[in-house]
């Protein structure tokens, strides 16, 4: 009886076993949520953050280093019966800070350590460590912050800070955790992946009470942290610091390039501020102040920003006209008939050489007019687009209207107006030369950044080619890993022979031309330069000067701009030539000139509009100051930080571990 029910009962047993096996297959094989190491609560993944790479100048002087500090962590459940008042006074914190941080820590976990106080100096650590027996539950971990012994190049170096929410969420491979430090701007950002090093991972086991139970699988899955790679930059810190002191009280920028290699020798954006201000505990306070400064010290004026090239653009006009055959070095133009006026200079220039020397506006108006009328078309509305296309093509080769490719995270492309641009603005065939003649003297629609201006000087110095300007020439021990695009040679279409009359004019401009009073003459060095005075909508013109030296086998090309300082020869040229002098002679002999420039303050329109503003953090470095450790602005920080030099040979593994 009922033997058939055996099959039904057995089937039911087997079905249940089958369902359970399917469920186990799903849990254990298909769903991998808990299978990654460290994803479960018994194995904790500890990240070992290595020291960030240091940054050096071209002569091996330290620009950016790390200072050891201690972060204090709290494990709330261990904190019992402590004298809060004594604790607060020991660490110089308020009761309010203590209570609120403690609440946050408790909310996170009672059994796990939370960050309580960042960046205690070694001295502070030594001072408090004896007293810590009275404060159970507080522990210290070695950490670091960035320090800038040379106290210069804040904008190009950039700063590091806690990763932003956006960047945290957008990372494709999960690498950073909340609160991690990353490069926010400048080289710190550009070379983040090289500087940060390789993180170590350590798996440790904890029990249900979050007590440490030792390393997991004897460290089989752990990896060691590898210290970040050092950056070897192209910067000459002494030239840079000279620029810093010359720019005291002024706004603008200076950038110098080695023409042969495209290496950037100096790159300063002013008003100056001490990069140490944006490191460590004072970050928030100082950042706010810098941000509020009407002169916008946080804006990089070298690689970003838009300026009119002014008279420096005349050099490009002349070179393009020479190459197209519109003019010859001996071409002369009458002064009259041009809608642009002359600066005061003796008589009409009888050739290109003198036109460059005196920066004659009507002459270059005529140069551009000739260029634009080279075509066979008689209708000026039809001729203009044809010739502008040709002109645009050649001018663009100088890097105008495009990014140069410098190794910084942000670079402005600027604008070189094209046919398309004017068609859009005026309508097709609705414009001709008379609409665009301001381009002839670098005014009107054309806009560039100062890096391009220095690059023009380098292009002329090289007689027709330029190399991508760059800041870093070596990464890590073997100086490898430099992007090939940073060494790329860009040819313009200008024949080297066309440069000589221009260069001659530039040399005369410095020696007995637009640079007045011999402010540009450096004994023994033939400097070729060109002043520029770019119109500034808001007030007095910007003073611009570009130059290279020496004339034969040039070693340095430079561009300097002083905002609202007026004529280019007055401030920009002296600053540029002083920097050239420093670079080529390693010392400055024209001390009176240096003093005079240093002690002149030029307030920008913006600063004048914001009355009563007194900046405090942008005090420049001492002139010609030897590179030594900074005096930290923080009273907790050591008075003299002994920077541990990490030579490339020592592949130290100095790691900071955070929970």
């Amino acid at each position: 009886m009922f033997q058939d029910r055996k099959q039904i009962i057995l089937s039911f047993f087997f079905i249940v076993c089958g369902v359970y096996l399917l469920r186990l297959l799903y849990l254990q094989v298909i769903d991998d949520q808990y299978q990654a190491l460290g994803s479960t609560n018994a194995i904790k993944k500890e990240i070992q953050v290595p020291l960030r790479g240091q940054i050096y100048d071209r002569n091996g002087k330290l620009l950016v280093a790390n200072v050891d500090v201690y972060d204090m962590y709290v494990t709330p459940y261990k904190v019992k019966n402590i004298d809060t008042t004594m604790f607060c006074s020991l660490f110089g914190i308020t009761r309010n800070y203590f209570d609120s941080t403690m609440t946050v820590a408790k909310t996170y976990s009672r059994n796990r350590a939370s960050l309580f106080l960042r960046q205690l100096s070694k001295e502070d650590y030594a001072r408090v460590s004896d007293a810590m027996v009275h404060f159970p539950g507080f522990t210290f971990e070695l950490s670091f912050f960035r320090t800038y012994p040379a106290r210069t190049m804040a904008n190009a170096l950039g700063y590091i800070g806690e990763i932003s929410k956006k960047a945290y969420e957008e990372q494709t491979i999960e690498y950073y955790r909340r609160g991690d430090y990353v490069g926010i701007t400048g080289l710190e950002k550009q070379y983040e992946s090289e500087l940060r090093g390789t993180r170590g991972v350590k798996f440790t086991m904890v029990n249900v009470k979050a007590e440490d139970k030792g390393s997991y699988a004897n460290g089989e899955f752990d990896t060691l942290a590898v210290i970040g790679k050092n950056l070897y930059t192209t910067v000459d810190v002494e030239v840079q610091q000279l620029a810093d002191s010359l720019f005291q009280g002024k706004t603008g920028c200076a950038v110098a390039i080695e023409p042969k290699t495209g290496e950037i020798l100096a790159m300063g954006s002013y008003p100056y501020y001490d990069p140490n201000a944006l490191s460590g505990k004072q970050f928030a306070k100082n950042f706010k102040e810098l941000y509020k400064n009407p002169d916008k010290p946080l804006n990089d004026r070298v690689a970003t920003g838009f300026f009119r090239p002014g008279s420096t653009f005349k050099l490009v006009q002349a070179l393009v006209a020479l190459q197209l055959g519109a003019i010859e070095p001996s071409t002369a133009f009458p002064l009259g008939g041009a809608p642009v006026k002359c600066h005061s200079h003796p008589g009409a220039p009888n050739d290109l050489h003198n036109a460059v020397r005196f920066s004659c506006n009507p002459y270059f108006y005529n140069v551009f007019r000739k260029t634009m009328s080279l075509g066979s078309e008689t209708n000026p509305f039809k001729e203009a687009p044809i010739m502008l296309t040709k002109w645009h093509e050649m001018t663009a080769k100088f890097g105008y209207g495009q990014k140069l490719g410098v190794d910084l995270p942000s670079e402005s492309a600027g604008l070189l107006p094209s046919v398309k641009y004017y068609d859009k603005r005026y309508g097709k065939h609705q414009w001709k030369f008379s609409n665009i003649y301001s381009l002839s003297i670098g005014e009107g629609e054309v806009s560039i950044n100062m890096l391009k201006m220095a690059n023009l000087a380098a292009t002329i110095a090289n007689r027709g080619h330029w190399i991508t300007p760059h800041l870093v020439k070596g990464i890590g021990q073997n100086s490898q890993g430099i992007n090939a695009s940073l060494k790329e040679v860009h040819q313009t279409e200008i024949d080297p022979i066309h440069f000589e009359s221009i260069i001659g004019g530039m040399q005369d401009a410095v020696e007995r031309g637009t640079v007045g009073g011999g402010a540009g003459i450096v004994e023994g060095i033939s400097i070729c330069g060109k002043t520029g005075t770019s119109q500034n909508k808001h007030g007095k013109d910007n003073s611009i000067f570009i130059a290279f030296a020496p004339r034969e086998n040039p070693k340095i090309a430079i561009a300097v701009m002083v905002q609202n300082a007026g004529f280019g020869g007055t401030y920009a040229a002296p600053i540029a030539t002083l920097m050239i002098e420093k670079y080529l002679k390693r010392k400055v002999e024209r001390l009176a000139l240096k003093e005079r420039i240093m002690n002149t303050s030029i307030k920008t329109v913006e600063a004048m509009a914001a009355k009563g503003y007194e900046p405090t953090v942008n005090k420049p470095a001492e002139p010609a100051r030897p590179v030594k450790a900074p005096e930290s602005p923080k009273k907790e920080a050591p008075k003299s930080v002994k920077v541990e030099f990490i030579t490339p040979k020592e592949n130290l593994i100095a790691a900071k571990s955070t929970k």
């Binding site: 009962i9 359970y20 469920r23 186990l24 254990q28 609560n41």
Partner: protein
């Protein structure tokens, strides 16, 4: 009775080996559960579960010898007496027991504690087999079914009074035996249908379920029944089904929210959604699932488990021993354990069908059903398919009472099987 007999004669060695495999594997996992890499323990020691389990295993060996020496007729003849005794002990336990974790089911004998509830399954099985094998007893007859029902129902009632709801539930396993012996199929089918309805009530709003039942009834009427079957009588039957189902749905809701204790409600709640209270009532479910999942396909390796080792999973050597298996041996280990159990169940059922004596057959089914029910609930709860009910995994879980009771249960059947050529 101990004549010159070879107790090995007629023993089904396949079953013995399957049993031994489970017990041995269980002990390995209990050792893993108590193993502490920082502080290695002695294997033979009374200070930890693995050491004690080793002693229980040795004692089981003695028990097996005794069972095999005793004349097979004793189990049949004395079934009612055993049953009566265990009922008395169960009742006595309520008064004599020391309270452990809110339950009064443990009797202390020296340093050891015994849980009579575990053993009551064995003797209930014997008594039930004896009754159902009595001539003229027919389970399909109401009176006989009632007597058998009372026999099965009495121990769990007492056990519930001891506050051991989990153990009491295991008596539901006997339904399978009743079914095999002729209980109309409608009853277990109804039970399964109601169980499904119960689960649905947990997950979906009541009105949706009632609407779904109504639609199913309508579809049944129009598409399943042939035209001539659509009689008024069938119509009434269908309506009755609908009404009963609806009442059951509301009744379930009422039962969960009004009748069950708060902690029992929580257990059901976390089954539906373990994340509703991951650190409280959902802790066991969540941690046990994490432990099993983290084992992956081939496991972390013996003694390498971290979830179970560091106390994230509670009751890791007793009720949640399967977590250790899952974590350290992975899917491979889980598969092997379940396959061994399936083979054992298959073997017992097949042996039971071969018995010439009705008593032995029914007892065999009792053994298989009880083992299966424990498997169903215990593994089900560790993988989140069943609510957390504290019953052990047969042969693997730590514990003298459970190991001994399952050993006795199985080996009485093997003893009966060894003599299957004799008809009682």
């Amino acid at each position: 009775m101990a004549r010159d007999i070879d107790i090995r004669e007629g023993i089904d060695w396949t079953t013995v080996w399957l049993y031994a495999a489970l017990v041995f594997f269980g002990w390995l996992n209990i050792y893993a559960a108590v193993y502490n890499p920082e502080n290695p323990i002695e294997i033979v020691s009374l200070s930890h579960n693995a050491g004690r389990q080793l002693i229980f295993i040795c004692a089981s060996f003695l028990l097996i010898l005794i069972i095999l020496f005793v004349d097979y007729k004793v189990y049949d003849s004395f079934a009612y007496i055993f049953y009566g005794l265990i009922i008395l002990i169960l009742v006595g336990t309520i008064f004599l027991a020391t309270e452990i974790k809110g339950s009064r089911s443990w009797i202390k004998i020296g340093t050891f504690s015994l849980q009579p509830a575990e053993f009551s399954k064995v003797f209930t099985a014997l008594a039930l087999a004896r009754y159902l094998s009595t001539q003229n007893v027919n389970i399909s007859r109401f009176r006989d079914a009632f007597v058998a029902g009372v026999m099965v129902f009495l121990p769990p009632v007492i056990i519930i009074l001891q506050k051991e709801t989990g153990s009491a539930l295991t008596f539901a396993a006997f339904v399978a035996v009743f079914y095999r012996e002729g209980l109309p199929g409608i009853y277990p089918a109804l039970g399964i249908a109601l169980a499904i309805l119960f689960v649905f009530t947990l997950f979906f709003p009541k009105l949706y379920i009632i609407a779904a039942i109504l639609i199913l009834c309508g579809l049944f009427w129009y598409f399943f029944l042939k035209r001539y079957e659509r009689t008024q009588q069938n119509m009434f039957r269908l309506i009755a089904v609908f009404v009963i189902a609806s009442v059951f749905v509301f009744g379930t809701d009422f039962f969960i929210n009004k009748v069950l204790q708060p902690h029992q409600q929580k257990r059901i709640q976390v089954l539906v959604n373990p994340d509703s209270d991951p650190l409280g009532a959902g802790w066991n479910v969540t941690q046990s699932r994490i432990a099993i999942s983290s084992g992956g396909a081939i496991g972390k390796g013996y003694l390498q488990g971290t979830q179970t080792k560091f106390d994230f999973v509670p009751e890791q050597s007793t009720d949640f021993i399967f977590c250790t298996v899952g974590e350290e041996w992975g899917f491979l280990g889980s598969l092997i354990v379940i396959l061994i159990f399936a083979a054992l169940l298959n073997r017992i059922i097949n042996l039971a069908e071969k018995q010439r004596s009705k008593f032995a057959r029914i007892y065999g089914y009792c053994v298989a059903s009880i083992l299966f029910f424990h498997l169903l609930v215990n593994i089900g709860m560790t993988i989140g398919l069943m609510p957390v009910i504290g019953i052990p995994l047969p042969f693997l879980s730590y514990g003298g009472s459970s190991l001994w009771s399952f050993t006795i249960l199985l080996f009485i059947f093997l003893k009966l099987d060894a003599h299957r050529s004799y008809k009682v």
